[in-house]
């Protein structure tokens, strides 16, 4: 029963509606230690678990992918440059170049419309059109889109005389759709008439190439009739880059580069920072003061500028990757963050009784650090690791993008972006794939970090 006095000591909080208590995921009767409890909480967090599954599959994609997808990331498929993602692409086998000499093609020959001789492929497109009796000469244009009017025919290819009512186009043909337009003009250059025709081009491969790859079993024969052989080319599920290299193989190899840099650098600088912070806090006093002042100075260094400066400083010339130096610079410049975090935690821990009793029992500094402090800050270390990795991935991408990180021919996701942006307007997949990999990886690690923070129930800044 409450006494009369306590009725007057109601505070405003007593009149707030009761909050619905969220059911704890941990069964109170079950006895779990800290790690088991945290793991259980993490498992109940769908976002964190999804991220964890994604990270595991990503690492296996980079590490074990090459075992399944046995394509050399450096091999160039010159028949498929900058190909969009495709499977089982077919190609037509053509003879080595024989110039089109259609002596018997002069004259009308009953042609009614502009037409294209089948098959049209990337080696040559053959056009014929009816003779216009008033025409003095013809102009041939090629466009990638449907021409929108008389000023929009696209790329001028050639002019032919009035007797020549045929043309063979061999200029930089790509396996795509083209719109050919033939213009008839009179002696004064006046436009008499024009006709447009649309055609899709097959990939053409040379006979020699086909024989070689068919023998090696890399290509498959699809059909052969009327002397025209069609083959199936090597598949590139994620397309190829501008040098014809398989994007999937490169993404695997690039992932290995990016992830190895991220993992090693983060592990090292979190370890160095933790040790530094723990030592500073444990020793305390003036030493702590000086040590943390120094850490403050290192934080004040402009990060990316010094990443670049250190690269130059270790004699890594432009055009060299210097992955070791990059990891070293990351460690040198990034440790103070972890040091501050761990120090603040150790400052609290060192005042506690279990440390005191360890000291009374004559434990040395290293013993206390390793046996008593380390297990208590391990959760913090794990959290800072999972936030450190994405920031290193982004740093690597940024540096590689401006050509001062991992440089070609070594693939990393950042350097692949740098190569991809050059042809981005025409072949977006070369930029999109590596940047999606970067983005999703960073996202996954960040979400995992959030999940870990909730699971360990730590108040981190």
């Amino acid at each position: 029963m409450q006494s009369a006095d306590s009725i007057n000591t109601f505070s405003s909080e007593d009149f707030l509606p009761l909050k619905q208590v969220k059911e704890s995921v941990i069964n109170q009767n079950e006895s779990l230690d800290y790690w088991q409890g945290s793991w259980k909480k993490l498992r109940a967090n769908p976002r964190a678990m999804l991220s964890l599954i994604f990270i595991v599959s990503l690492v296996s994609f980079s590490l074990f992918g090459p075992l399944l997808w046995r394509v050399d990331p450096a091999r160039q498929d010159l028949n498929q440059l900058s190909q969009a993602p495709s499977m089982n692409k077919q190609a037509i086998v053509v003879d080595t170049f024989i110039s089109w000499q259609p002596e018997n093609l002069f004259g009308d020959q009953g042609i009614k419309h502009l037409s294209i001789l089948s098959p049209a492929h990337t080696s040559s497109v053959k056009l014929r059109w009816p003779i216009n009796p008033e025409a003095d000469y013809y102009e041939i244009y090629r466009h990638e889109y449907q021409p929108s009017g008389e000023n929009d025919f696209g790329l001028p290819l050639a002019e032919t005389s009035k007797e020549e009512n045929f043309y063979e186009d061999r200029l930089n043909l790509e396996p795509q759709t083209y719109f050919y337009t033939v213009l008839a003009r009179d002696g004064e250059g006046k436009l008499l008439a024009y006709e447009t025709i649309e055609t899709g081009l097959e990939i053409a491969v040379s006979k020699k190439d086909a024989e070689k790859h068919l023998q090696a079993g890399k290509w498959k024969k699809v059909s052969e009739h009327e002397g025209v052989l069609r083959v199936e080319l090597s598949s590139h599920p994620m397309g190829t880059d501008y040098l014809g290299r398989d994007m999937m193989a490169r993404l695997m190899e690039g992932g290995r580069t990016s992830l190895i840099i991220a993992l090693i650098a983060s592990l090292l600088f979190v370890a160095v920072g933790s040790l530094y912070g723990a030592l500073a806090a444990y020793i305390g006093g003036q030493t702590d003061n000086i040590m943390m002042r120094f850490a403050d100075f290192v934080i004040a260094l402009p990060f990316l500028l010094f990443m670049i400066l250190l690269k130059v400083s270790f004699g890594i010339r432009p055009g060299e990757s210097g992955i070791g130096v990059m990891v070293f610079s990351l460690v040198i410049l990034s440790w103070p963050g972890a040091a501050r975090l761990i120090r603040s935690q150790v400052l609290v821990l060192r005042e506690q009784n279990f440390i005191l009793s360890a000291r009374i029992n004559g434990a040395g500094v290293l013993h206390i650090l390793w046996k008593h402090l380390f297990p208590n800050v391990l959760s913090l270390i794990l959290i800072s690791l999972s936030f450190a990795i994405p920031s290193v991935i982004l740093t690597e991408a940024f540096l590689s993008f401006i050509g001062l990180g991992v440089v070609p021919p070594t693939p990393s996701w950042g350097s692949m972006c740098q190569e991809g942006i050059k042809t981005f307007l025409f072949h977006p997949h070369e930029l999109v794939f590596p940047s999606v990999f970067i983005g999703v990886t960073v996202l996954a690690f960040n979400l995992l970090g959030d999940g870990l923070r909730d699971a360990f129930d730590v108040k981190a800044e």
């Binding site: 260094l301 400066l309 270790f314």
Partner: protein, 310 residues
């Protein structure tokens, strides 16, 4: 307050000294003699450079010469560009970067406050979720991807409307600045949005808000006079790091949008191993950032009296 400012300034000065020292020893560590490089072939140039930097003198004297030059604001002569001093290059190209950076900060600040307030207003409803999702995507994807996508969008928009809405790259007019500075500020904008949202939600039930409500003030007045003012405060603290991020972010944005800023020059200087230009710009950028952080600190001291007390 005076003591607070004085302390901050002294600390800033120490930081600049630390940056200059680190730069000097980092560059001294470069293997080989930079003057033996094919870059500075002529004997006269070599002799002049040696005399100027005291390369024949012992290390500590070189260091002193370097420090006095930096203190005088003399950053030396470019290694690769004839008859051009590093000061000239900084003078010519830094204003471009600074203008771009400040516009980016402006976009980031205004956008961050606006979107953060929107997200907090629609807390746990779809506009909030949408904004948070956008923020997360923006933070996870590197800025050059957005720059490329933005350029692609501009090309298509310009084609579609058949007029030049905004130039795709280049420098010279206000229109040229809009797209790159927006991209440059995007990451900071996302970060500020998240911060603004959480800071608004934190003060949702603060006593002074309750008082304002109890007084019967209108929603908009409470928002502008009480919520907004207090929620914006923590945003000022991250302005310093934000300026640093935006300044270095300029390296990428300037080269994608073909802007003649100092960031682009710095990257080119590294590619050409123009040692003096690298040193000069590093120290200059470092001091600039320290100055900016200092100004933000002092500003924050003015805005929030609790800071200068502690």
């Amino acid at each position: 307050m005076k003591i607070f400012i004085l302390k901050r300034c002294l600390y800033g000065l120490f930081t600049v000294w630390f940056i200059a020292t680190a730069t000097f020893f980092a560059m001294h560590n470069v293997p080989g003699n930079p003057l033996n490089d094919e870059k500075a072939t002529s004997a006269e140039i070599r002799k002049n450079l040696e005399a100027r930097y005291g390369l024949d003198k012992p290390l500590y004297q070189q260091y002193l010469i370097f420090l006095t030059n930096m203190a005088k604001g003399d950053f030396g002569i470019s290694f690769t560009q004839k008859n051009r001093s590093v000061n000239d290059i900084i003078k010519a190209h830094f204003p471009v970067s600074a203008a771009l950076g400040f516009l980016a900060i402006f976009f980031a600040g205004v956008g961050g406050v606006l979107f953060g307030a929107l997200a907090a207003h629609y807390k746990n409803r779809w506009p909030d979720y949408l904004l948070i999702a956008l923020v997360v995507i923006t933070i996870s994807v590197p800025s050059f991807v957005f720059a490329a996508l933005f350029q692609l969008a501009l090309v298509n928009l310009n084609l579609y409307f058949d007029i030049k809405l905004l130039p795709i790259a280049g420098w010279g007019s206000v229109q040229h600045m809009l797209a790159p500075s927006l991209i440059l500020g995007l990451g900071t904008l996302a970060y500020l949005t998240r911060l603004m949202r959480s800071s608004l939600l934190e003060i949702e039930n603060a006593p002074y808000i309750k008082t304002a409500k109890a007084k019967g003030l209108s929603e908009s007045r409470i928002f502008f006079r009480h919520r907004l003012r207090n929620a914006v405060l923590p945003l000022v603290t991250v302005l310093g790091p934000a300026i640093a991020a935006i300044t270095t972010g300029g390296f990428v944005v300037e080269s994608i949008f073909a802007i003649p800023g100092l960031g682009k020059y710095f990257v080119e200087a590294v590619h050409q191993l123009d040692y003096t230009l690298i040193m000069g710009t590093t120290v200059f950028y470092g001091s600039y950032l320290v100055l900016m952080v200092l100004l933000v600190d002092i500003l924050y001291g003015f805005v929030d009296p609790r800071i200068r007390m502690s």
